[in-house]
């Protein structure tokens, strides 16, 4: 008796320890395996095993078993019928623990070949609330190892195990839901950042499969007829092959996708249970579960997403809520991408129309302009011809006719210069912006007091072809002057965009109405009458674009016009100057920005620089440099004075904007050379060579 009490007490303690250990395990797979180990270790049993009831509650299926015997039986899918002759089947059916011994009156012959040493067995139902979820078997090598009173002690442990199993299942479900939610959020975040529909759908199926660890995902969109859902993207090789095959499913038919779209609700298909579905898609042979989720935006079904798993029962009704969130994100992303597509198409259409309109407008203006400028030539020649034939040539009339021909021809040549000049090859170099601006203003006769410059020290240099930039700036300044501007303010500063200068040219002239502004860049468009060719701004646009710059125009009627340009920014370097044989230079120029730069560049060299504008007394020098756009002295007068003193042969004319006609003119005056103004130490060295 004492031994029995001691044995029972030990059993109770072991049961308590086992229960304590079991209830701390949350992982369902670990829980079962460790449970059988803990039970065997604590009680010194030969074997323990845990059975779960199947869906139909017909069989108890072995889920964990001690040792090699347990593993073998699990692999053999060991199961016992509920209510059958087995201990487990009976304990489940009766919801009671049972004991079997191979001794005494009810001796049982244990014949499980995996457990040959079993001499006693106890089977205990696993009950949670009112439900039996399975049973626990414990087996001993001892005969009569269990007594009836032991059932209560071990049932308590079995009850704890049942609760632990339930907790573990709940934990597993919560964890799974959390994982699905996180994946849904990740999918949502990832897909909504993709705005190109052609990229969005393939990337979406990749993101879904990778985030959820799924076998396959595909996105179907409803076609234009509204009759079919067409596969637009599918995961992996199978998906690509199906898309290439033009895989589509009729809406409203028996297919998961068709039904999901027509009913606008999620559907699940599993290949287990009473409503077992046989997945037959040859591209996806391993699918065992599928869920179809409608893609709905603004109450409108756009298509559906299919997600497929190679696991049986991979999805349950609870998953619909979680995965629907992902489908909602996807629907929003598809809608956004479609809107962007539509916007892009609309923009392309507008652009095509605008280009066509601009070309038509430019061609019409050009035809009109050229027609009007060439017509007087042909008309006058025809008339002269008639007069000569009639022998009625009047000299005064003839002179007038020749003047008309000449004037028409001059206007046409001006157009040629604007058209061809602007497209002439550009030679970008470091250019002092203040100098090209002053040259442009001088060329176009802009009064000095009208032009106000504010140039940031950090923005002194631009990379451009100086001749072309003078042309572009000249056109802009001339437009301002012709618009009646009294003040033209030019400010230059480093742009926030790396490597660029921001040049703002503001005038207080008449400004433009919107309809005029919209045509301002069109060739041959002008509001300034028939003497203008309307090529100033288009030529400026061409020059600035060729210089890798940008130009924009803002204007308001009666409030003036602002031109904003972005040009590549240059910076001076400290290269040493090689003066060659030149020991002294006479610079004939105004005291302007370029003269100051030139003097600065020569600092530190042995060259003696003298600057003067005195025509009566030219200081002696090896080389005389003259700025073509000198304002304080008329250039031809200066050249005449230099000729008279015999100094013109050592005179080089420097120009910011070189012109072949003027080069010829200056060379005929006897100048040594006409060349581009140097703006860098390297160019000064070149000049002095």
């Amino acid at each position: 008796m004492t031994n029995d009490i001691q044995r029972h007490a030990i059993l109770l303690k072991a049961a308590a320890r086992a229960a304590k250990n079991i209830t701390t395990i949350l992982d369902p797979y670990e829980l079962l395996q460790r449970t059988v180990d803990i039970i065997c270790d604590e009680f010194g049993f030969y074997y323990a095993g845990v059975f779960f009831l199947d869906e139909a509650k017909e069989y108890a299926i072995l889920k964990a078993g001690r040792g090699e015997a347990g593993r073998e039986m699990i692999n053999a899918q060991h199961k016992l019928a509920v209510g059958g002759n087995s201990m487990i089947g009976a304990s489940i059916a009766n919801r009671q623990g049972r004991i079997a011994l191979d001794v005494g009156a009810e001796a049982i012959f244990f014949e499980n070949p995996h457990l040959p040493k079993t001499r006693s067995e106890m089977a205990l139902p696993l009950i949670v609330g009112d439900d039996v979820i399975g049973a626990l078997t414990v087996q001993s090598m001892e005969e009569s190892a269990f007594h009836d009173e032991d059932i209560d002690a071990l049932q308590t442990m079995a009850d704890q195990l049942a609760i632990a199993i339930q907790n573990s299942n709940l934990h597993r479900q919560a964890e799974r839901r959390s994982r699905l939610l996180k994946a849904a959020n990740r999918v949502g975040k990832d897909v909504t950042s993709i705005l190109d529909l052609e990229k969005l759908l393939p990337q979406t199926v990749n993101i879904i499969c990778e985030s959820y660890g799924l076998y396959y995902a595909g996105v179907f969109l409803i076609d234009g007829s509204g009759e079919y859902a067409v596969l637009r993207a599918g995961y992996g090789k199978a998906g690509r092959a199906m898309v290439a095959d033009g895989h589509k499913l009729k809406i409203g038919t028996d297919s998961m996708i068709g039904a999901c779209i027509s009913m606008s609700e999620a559907r699940i298909a599993l290949d287990v249970g009473e409503e077992r579905v046989h997945f037959k898609n040859p591209y996806l042979p391993h699918t065992r579960s599928e869920m179809a989720l409608p893609l709905v935006y603004g109450g409108r079904v756009m298509g559906a997403v299919t997600i497929q798993s190679s696991e049986e029962r991979a999805f349950n009704e609870d998953d619909i809520t979680t995965l629907s969130t992902m489908a909602e994100h996807l629907a929003v992303a598809i809608n956004n991408a479609r809107l962007i597509d539509e916007l892009r198409d609309a923009n392309a259409e507008i652009l095509r129309n605008k280009v066509f309109e601009a070309l038509t407008s430019a061609s019409t203006e050009a035809i009109h302009w050229i027609g009007n400028k060439t017509l007087p030539i042909s008309l006058t020649i025809a008339r002269l011809h008639d007069e000569i034939v009639d022998g009625k040539v009047d000299l005064e009339s003839l002179k007038e006719d020749l003047d008309m021909i000449s004037e028409s021809a001059a206007l046409i040549i001006q157009v040629k210069e604007q058209l061809i000049g602007a497209v002439r090859e550009q030679k970008p170099r470091l250019v002092l912006f203040a100098d090209v601006l002053q040259t442009a203003a001088h060329q176009r006769g802009i009064p000095e007091k009208a032009l106000k410059m504010e140039i940031d020290l950090e923005a002194a240099y631009v990379i451009a072809d100086s001749t072309q930039l003078v042309r572009a700036l000249g056109n802009i300044l001339q437009n301002a002057a012709e618009a009646g501007a009294k003040s033209i303010k030019v400010s230059v500063q480093p742009s926030e965009e790396h490597g660029l200068l921001k040049i703002i040219i503001e005038d207080d002239g008449a400004g433009m109405e919107n309809d005029v502004l919209s045509k301002a860049w069109s060739p041959f468009f002008t509001t300034r009458g028939v003497e203008h060719h309307g090529l100033g701004l288009p030529a400026a646009l061409h020059v600035i674009s060729q210089s890798q710059g940008r130009i924009a125009l803002f204007s308001e009627k009666d409030k003036g016009t602002t031109v904003v340009m972005f040009m590549p920014r240059g910076s001076a370097n400290d290269e040493p100057i090689e003066a060659g044989r030149v020991k002294s230079i006479l610079l004939i120029d105004d005291k302007d920005d370029w003269a100051a730069l030139f003097a600065n560049l020569l600092k530190g060299t042995k060259v003696k620089l003298t600057q003067s504008t005195d025509l009566k007394n030219f200081p002696a020098a090896d080389l005389i440099l003259v700025d073509e756009h000198i304002k304080s002295i008329p250039l031809l007068e200066l050249l005449t004075a230099l000729s008279k003193t015999g100094l013109v042969s050592k005179t080089v004319i420097l120009s910011a904007a070189i012109n072949p006609e003027r080069v010829t003119q200056f060379l005929r005056h006897g100048a040594l050379d006409v060349t581009l103004k140097p703006y860098s130490a390297r160019e000064v060295s070149e000049l002095l060579k």
Binding site: I367, L379, A382, V530
Partner: protein, 129 residues
């Protein structure tokens, strides 16, 4: 003597046409836009037998306007419905030609064949009696 009102903003074309018409024996009154054209016509309505108007030129507000010649056409026809009017243009444009005819123009003439204009004027005056 037949008097022609000639309105064109292209001064070289205006002068060249003027010389051709003078040489053909017409008297020519000229103007360079709608406003001055109307002024010249109003002052000389009784002596002007025919008007030759450029299609595109400054309108009555002095600003360049496509089809301004049709505005002047309407104005002149209002003052003198029997006036034959020729619309001049630098290039063919069927729509504008139709507009000109429906506005009461007697002819639409594409610039370039000056002698053709002289012949056209003579023919129109003959029809007008």
């Amino acid at each position: 003597m037949t008097t022609v009102l000639l309105v064109d903003d292209e001064k070289l074309i205006l002068r060249s046409l003027e010389k051709t018409l003078l040489r053909a024996g017409f008297d020519v009154l000229s103007a360079s836009d709608c406003k001055s054209g109307r002024g010249v016509f109003t002052r000389n309505m009784n002596v002007i037998n025919i008007a030759v108007l450029d299609l595109n030129m400054p309108g009555f507000d002095g600003l360049p306007k496509s089809g301004a010649g049709l505005d002047l056409l309407a104005d002149l026809k209002k003052q003198k419905p029997s006036l034959p009017v020729v619309i001049l243009t630098a290039y063919d444009e069927v729509t504008k030609a139709k507009d000109a005819v429906s506005g009461g123009a007697s002819a639409f003439f594409v610039k370039g064949r000056e002698q053709g204009l002289v012949e056209l004027i003579l023919r129109l005056l003959k029809v007008a009696g």
